[in-house]
C-alpha cells in the first residue's frame, strides 16, 4: 500500500505545537515520509497517553520506510519471478550498459542498479538511480513494467 502524507497527518496530534521544529504537523508528516524526521521527534505523541493508539498505528504504518532503499524503492522478492523487465527498461542501464541490459541481456557492468540473482531481482547500486541525490527525478519505469507488482515505491 502506498504511503501518503495525508494519512500520516490524520494520526498526528494536529496541534501544530512546533516541538518537532516544524511549523505545522502537515509539514512534519511530509518530512517523515522523506525520512528527514523521525516519529520520535514528535514529543506529544510519546509523552501524552491519549495519543498512544495513534502512535502505535503510525509505527505500524511507517514500517515499510525502514525496508525501503534511499530512493523509496521496495522489492518484494517473494513476488518476483526474475523476468528482468526492470533491469532492461531502466534508463540508467541503457546509458551505461548499451551492450548488456540495453539489448535485453543480463547487465555486463559491475554496478548495475538492479540485477537478477538467484531468480529474483536484487538492488545492487541504488546510488546510480535517477531518484537518488539532489537532482532526482521521480522515475518509476521499473515499477510500471513489473508484471507481478514486486517493485513498488513509498509514494505509491
Amino acid at each position: 500500500m502506498a504511503l501518503n502524507p495525508m494519512d500520516i497527518y490524520k494520526l498526528l496530534p494536529k496541534t501544530n505545537c512546533k516541538k518537532c521544529g516544524e511549523a505545522t504537523c502537515m509539514s512534519f508528516a511530509f518530512k517523515l515520509l522523506n525520512r528527514e524526521k523521525k516519529l520520535e521527534d514528535c514529543k506529544p505523541l510519546y509523552e501524552d497517553k491519549k495519543y498512544e493508539r495513534q502512535r502505535k498505528k503510525l509505527e505500524e504504518m511507517l514500517k515499510p520506510l525502514e525496508e525501503a532503499t534511499e530512493t523509496g524503492l521496495i522489492v518484494d522478492e517473494s513476488l518476483c519471478t526474475g523476468c528482468g523487465n526492470c533491469v532492461v527498461v531502466c534508463p540508467v542501464h541503457v546509458e551505461k550498459d548499451p551492450k548488456g541490459a540495453a539489448v535485453g541481456n543480463g547487465p555486463t557492468i559491475d554496478d548495475p542498479i538492479l540485477r537478477v540473482e538467484d531468480g529474483v531481482v536484487k538492488v545492487i547500486n541504488m546510488q546510480a538511480c535517477r531518484r537518488y541525490g539532489k537532482n532526482r527525478v521521480l522515475c518509476v519505469v521499473c515499477r510500471e513494467n513489473c508484471p507481478s507488482d514486486a517493485i513498488r515505491f513509498l509514494e505509491g
Binding site: G84, A102, G106, E117, D118, N145
Partner: protein
C-alpha cells in the same frame, strides 16, 4: 562460465554462476542450476535398486518382448539423443510421440512446412514493431521472452525502446499479467472466441465490417507503419481455434498489407528440436507410427494409453503421472514402463525400470532448438558419462 539455460524454449544464453549464485536466470532457470542434485533417480528394476547396466538390459528385454511399444517424452533432452530415440522407435516398428501433440506441435508443423512466414527472435529484437502475443502469457511460461527478445530490448532498427519503437498487442481471454503491461502504445483485446478476432482481421483487410473491427483496424494501421511485425501464438490460440487453417489464411491476408511473421510462443526447452528432427526423418512432427508409416491423432501417446493400444512405454525426460489426467496416466500401471530421467519423478516411482540420466545443459552437452528454430549448443557444467545419448545408444545396440 556463461551457460545456456535449458529451462524453457527461450534458451537464455547469458546465464552464469559465480560464488554459488545463479545470475540473470529467471526463477525457473535458477532452480535447474541450483537444485540439480536434488531428488535424483536411482537405477531400479521392479522396485529393487540395481546398477545402471542391469536396468538397461532389463529395458531392452521389455522392449524386445513388447508387441506395441511406444517412445514418449524427449522434449527436455538434446537433439543428438532425440535422433537415437527415433532410431529405436524405427527399429521397434513402434510409436513415437512427445508433449507437442497436446502442446504447440501443430503450430511448429505449419512453420516447418512453410505455411506461415517465420523469423528469428534476434531479428525480432532488431526490427519488429508490432508484437502480438496471442493466447499466451509469457509471464508464466517464458519469463524472459519480453525482456530478452521482444518488447523491451533496444534493437538496431528500434533504438528507442518499448515506449516509442514497439507496439504491443495482447490477445487473451483474461487480463493476464502480460496484458497488464500493455499500456502506452499497446492494446489488449479480450476475446470470447478467437475465431471471431481472426475473422475480424481478415474482414478489415478486405474493408468489411466485423466484431473487432475497431481493434483490428488500429493494429493493421500500426502494422502498415513498419516493415516487420510478428505474432507469437500460444496454447490459447491452438485450443481457441477449431481450425488452424483459418489463422494461416489470416496471416496470409495480413501479409498483403504489411509484412507479418509468426513464431510459436514457446514450450519445453527442446520441443521444437524433436519436431524438427522427426520432420526431417519422416515428414511429420509428432504422434508417428513407424508400423503404419503415418502420423495420426490416434497415435498420440495420450490416445494410445487411453485406448490401451500399447503394452510398453519408454518415457524419456517427462513425467506423465504428474502432467497427464489421472484417467490417462493411471493406465501406465497396466503396461511395462521404462523411465529414463535424471530425477525420481512420479512416473519413475511407478515404473518397472528406472534408468537415471544426466540433466541436459547441466551435466550433458548437445544441441537444443529455440522456439524460433535457432540451434543452440549447450556446454555442460560437469560432464556425466551416463546421459540420454549413452542410455539410448545402449538400448539401440541391445535391440
Amino acid at each position: 562460465m556463461i551457460m545456456i539455460c535449458p529451462g524453457c524454449s527461450c534458451l537464455c544464453d547469458d546465464v552464469y554462476i559465480k560464488e554459488g549464485k545463479v545470475f540473470n536466470a529467471c526463477r525457473r532457470g535458477k532452480e535447474i542450476f541450483a537444485k540439480y542434485n536434488e531428488n535424483r533417480a536411482v537405477a531400479r528394476v521392479d522396485g529393487r535398486e540395481v546398477d545402471v547396466d542391469t536396468a538397461i538390459e532389463k529395458a531392452v528385454e521389455i522392449l524386445k518382448e513388447a508387441k506395441n511399444p511406444a517412445i514418449y517424452g524427449l522434449d527436455t533432452t538434446v537433439v543428438e539423443a532425440q535422433k537415437i530415440a527415433i532410431d529405436v522407435a524405427e527399429k521397434l516398428n513402434g510409436y513415437i510421440d512427445d508433449n507437442s501433440s497436446f502442446c504447440l506441435g501443430e503450430l511448429v508443423e505449419a512453420v516447418l512446412k512453410g505455411e506461415m512466414p517465420t523469423t528469428t527472435l534476434d531479428e525480432v529484437r532488431d526490427n519488429a514493431y508490432v508484437l502480438v502475443y496471442w493466447g499466451t502469457n509469457p509471464y508464466h511460461s517464458l519469463s524472459r521472452h519480453l525482456s530478452k527478445y521482444t518488447y523491451y530490448p533496444r534493437g538496431k532498427k528500434r533504438p528507442r525502446g518499448y515506449d516509442e519503437d514497439r507496439f504491443l498487442v495482447v490477445v487473451d481471454v483474461r487480463r493476464s499479467e502480460t496484458a497488464v503491461l500493455a499500456k502506452k502504445n499497446a492494446r489488449f483485446i479480450r476475446v470470447d472466441d478467437d475465431a471471431e478476432l481472426v475473422d475480424s482481421f481478415v474482414k478489415v483487410v478486405e474493408g468489411k465490417a466485423a466484431k473487432y473491427a475497431k481493434d483490428a483496424g488500429v493494429i493493421i494501421n500500426e502494422m502498415k507503419r513498419a516493415d516487420f511485425n510478428v505474432i507469437f501464438g500460444g496454447l490459447g490460440l491452438k485450443y481457441g481455434l477449431k481450425d488452424l487453417n483459418q489463422f494461416k489464411e489470416m496471416v496470409k491476408k495480413l501479409n498483403e498489407v504489411a509484412p507479418v511473421y509468426f513464431i510459436p510462443a514457446g514450450f519445453h526447452g527442446n520441443m521444437r528440436g524433436f519436431n524438427e528432427t522427426l520432420f526431417e526423418r519422416v515428414g511429420h512432427v509428432n504422434k508417428y507410427s513407424f508400423r503404419d508409416g503415418k502420423s495420426d491423432e490416434e497415435f498420440a501417446f495420450t490416445e494410445l494409453l487411453k485406448n490401451e493400444k500399447i503394452d510398453a512405454a519408454l518415457i524419456v525426460g517427462t513425467d506423465p503421472v504428474y502432467s497427464l489426467p489421472f484417467e490417462v496416466s493411471s493406465k501406465l500401471g497396466k503396461i511395462n514402463t521404462i523411465v529414463v530421467d535424471p530425477r525420481m519423478s512420479f512416473t519413475a516411482r511407478i515404473a518397472d525400470v528406472v534408468i537415471p540420466s544426466a540433466i541436459s545443459g547441466v551435466e550433458a552437452g548437445g544441441t537444443m532448438v529455440r522456439s524460433d528454430g535457432v540451434r543452440v549448443k549447450l556446454e555442460p557444467l560437469e560432464e556425466k558419462e551416463v546421459n540420454d545419448v549413452y542410455i539410448l545408444n545402449k538400448i539401440k545396440e541391445g535391440l
